[in-house]
């Protein structure tokens, strides 16, 4: 039914036809009075990685749950691997792997038993499922803990076991809801490597994340979602361009920091400069000559400079300007809420 070889064939089939692996049009989902998804459109090309980025409560998990047939959409059309999430749900499940936001492993089963069970539920024979389990335990460095019940695992180990569960059938399309939340930096890097390997083998990945560096590194395209709507979508570069041109950052020396300096620098930009400590940050109209111009003007006014540089906007800034709030702050708030 879902032997690895067949899976690979289906990957190749989608790749060859250059079909989109995921097409979402006008997806709406309510929970009572809450509009969790308010007309979402997505298009993920086969073999690419889409990063779904958004603050808490934006609707990321809801989107993933609809796309993986766990929730029925209220309206809109959702196709995964060319199959409709409502009408072809059973066939669709053969094509996907899911690692949800919270690790879903059986605490009383060992790592190996968990993976073997999932393999058999994908339709593998016991032997085949066991062999696949061992492969994955090895890949996720769980081989030493393979025969211990999962309730003895650390949070990160559980997370890795959950991801391994999602990969058991070598799915053509993989859904990862905040896959690296709760992983230490080393495990996170290892997981990024694994995802890149899977993509190199032709897997399509949709991942949600709170980490902009993760989206920046892994995602071919990023969709920023807020209040159930996609507010921007494109490559990381495109999004950065959208937010505006180059950033000029000037650190003034102690004596030089005054209103006059801010006015001088402000004249180089269409927007008000952003002042942080003794640093002034602004979006410049023209990259070329910006540094020279700033140095000259400040020099003429007798204002000293400690440091000056040009850089592209970060995804954080993109996010801030698109959603009106930074990711990290949102995160802190929810933690205080005790989530």
């Amino acid at each position: 039914m879902s032997q690895p070889t067949k899976q690979n064939e289906s990957i190749r089939r989608y790749a060859a036809s250059d079909q989109s692996a995921i097409v979402v049009e006008g997806l709406v989902k309510h929970f009572g009075g809450v509009k969790a998804l308010d007309g979402v459109d997505l298009d993920v090309k086969t073999g690419s990685v889409l990063g779904l980025l958004g603050p808490n409560g934006a609707g990321k998990t809801t989107a993933v749950r609809v796309l993986t047939t766990l929730l029925k959409p209220d309206s809109g059309s959702v196709k995964v691997a060319g199959l409709d999430v409502v009408d072809d749900a059973a066939a669709l499940r053969e094509q996907i792997g899911l690692a949800g936001q919270y690790a879903a492993v059986d605490e009383n089963l060992t790592g190996r038993e968990n993976l073997t069970m999932v393999g058999r539920l994908y339709g593998m024979k016991r032997r085949e499922a066991q062999a696949r389990a061992d492969e994955l335990l090895d890949r996720f460095e769980l081989d030493e803990a393979a025969n211990r019940p999962a309730n003895t695992y650390s949070g990160g180990m559980r997370r890795r076991l959950d991801l391994a569960d999602a990969l058991v059938a070598k799915p053509a399309i993989l859904f990862l809801d905040e896959p690296t939340t709760g992983l230490d930096p080393r495990s996170r890097l290892a997981l990024w490597g694994t995802i890149e390997e899977l993509v190199a083998e032709g897997t399509t990945v949709l991942l949600t994340t709170q980490y902009l560096d993760e989206a920046d590194r892994l995602a071919d395209r990023i969709a920023v979602i807020d209040h159930g709507k996609v507010v921007a979508d494109g490559t990381s570069d495109e999004l950065k361009d959208r937010v505006g041109g180059e950033r000029l950052e000037v650190k003034l020396d102690d004596d030089g920091f005054n209103q006059r300096a801010i006015e001088i620098l402000g004249s180089m930009s269409d927007e008000d400069p952003f002042v942080e400590g003794e640093s002034v940050k602004l979006t410049v109209r023209e990259r070329r000559g910006a540094i020279v111009e700033a140095v000259q003007k400040l020099n003429e006014a007798g204002i000293g400079i400690d440091d000056i540089g040009l850089r592209r906007p970060t995804l954080d800034e993109v996010f801030l300007s698109l959603t009106g709030h930074a990711l990290e702050t949102e995160d802190d708030e929810t933690q205080e809420d005790g989530k």
């Binding site: 749950r65 047939t69 766990l70 499940r93 053969e94 899911l98 069970m117 994908y122």
Partner: protein, 256 residues
């Protein structure tokens, strides 16, 4: 259909494998029934008059086994609710497996645990003086009835476990539902010793029907309508609650 069978077996195996690793549950299947039996026989036994039975343990054992088997479904209710809140149900629902298999596997595993506690109760009962008054065929028929009735009841608990919001409430709702049902029946005392309002309830109670059927099968008590009545009740309960539970499972939103 082939998938339904193989997936059900995988899930049943999973539930049986994890059982010995949850010692509190194992205790519920082994020590608890023995404790109940001994308490009833030696604390209440002397005070309860059971006309037609040479001693209380003969009267009690079929009743206590039926009660115990009804309680066996608790594991299903609590376990399913745990699966729901820990996200395992989401995992299963995202797999290309047969939909009813998660519940069918659970309830099938209950048959094994029910058989275990039934055996324990029988052995204890025989040790303290219980004696069959029946042929092998009737004894076996009783065992079959017990396991079927337990299986039907597991579906009630499966439905319950998917409806309530936490494993703890699965536990207490189950308790509140099953305790009166088993006590206001012929399981522990003769029905005609109860006040008349309770008698009316006790006589209509499926537990009474099943317990009476067990006494007829194992002890040669007058059967009346109880034997076929017990099988009818068993199938009616199954026919109502299995589809209900599967419907709730299909639409289960899943906890966070």
């Amino acid at each position: 259909m082939k998938r339904l069978v193989s997936d059900t077996l995988v899930i049943a195996e999973r539930n049986l494998v994890r059982l010995p690793r949850a010692p509190d549950l194992l205790l519920a299947f082994t020590v608890q029934p023995i404790m109940f039996l001994l308490l009833f026989v030696y604390v209440f036994g002397g005070a309860i008059v059971t006309p037609g039975y040479s001693n209380y343990v003969d009267f009690l054992l079929p009743g206590i086994i039926v009660q115990n088997i009804a309680f066996g479904g608790f594991v299903t209710a609590v376990g399913l609710n745990e699966d729901l809140s820990k996200g395992l149900i989401d995992r299963f629902r995202s797999l290309p497996m047969s939909r009813p298999a998660v519940l069918a596997g659970r309830t099938l595993a209950d048959v094994a645990t029910n058989a275990l506690s039934m055996t324990i109760l029988l052995v204890t009962g025989l040790t303290i003086g219980f004696r069959f008054d029946a042929g092998l065929l009737e004894i076996a028929g009783g065992v079959v009835l017990l396991l079927l009735f337990g299986y039907a009841f597991s579906w009630v608990f499966a439905w319950l476990g998917l409806l309530v919001s936490s494993p703890e409430s699965a536990n207490s709702v189950g308790f509140i539902a099953v305790f009166p049902l088993t006590f206001i029946s012929s399981a522990f005392v003769p029905v005609d010793s109860m006040p008349s309002a309770l008698q009316w309830f006790a006589e209509a109670n499926p537990f009474t029907v099943v317990v009476d059927a067990m006494r007829a099968l194992w002890l040669g008590a007058p059967a009346g309508n109880s034997i076929w009545g017990a099988f009818v009740w068993t199938f009616v309960i199954m026919a109502i609650f299995a589809p209900l539970a599967v419907a709730v499972y299909r639409s289960a939103a899943g906890g966070k």
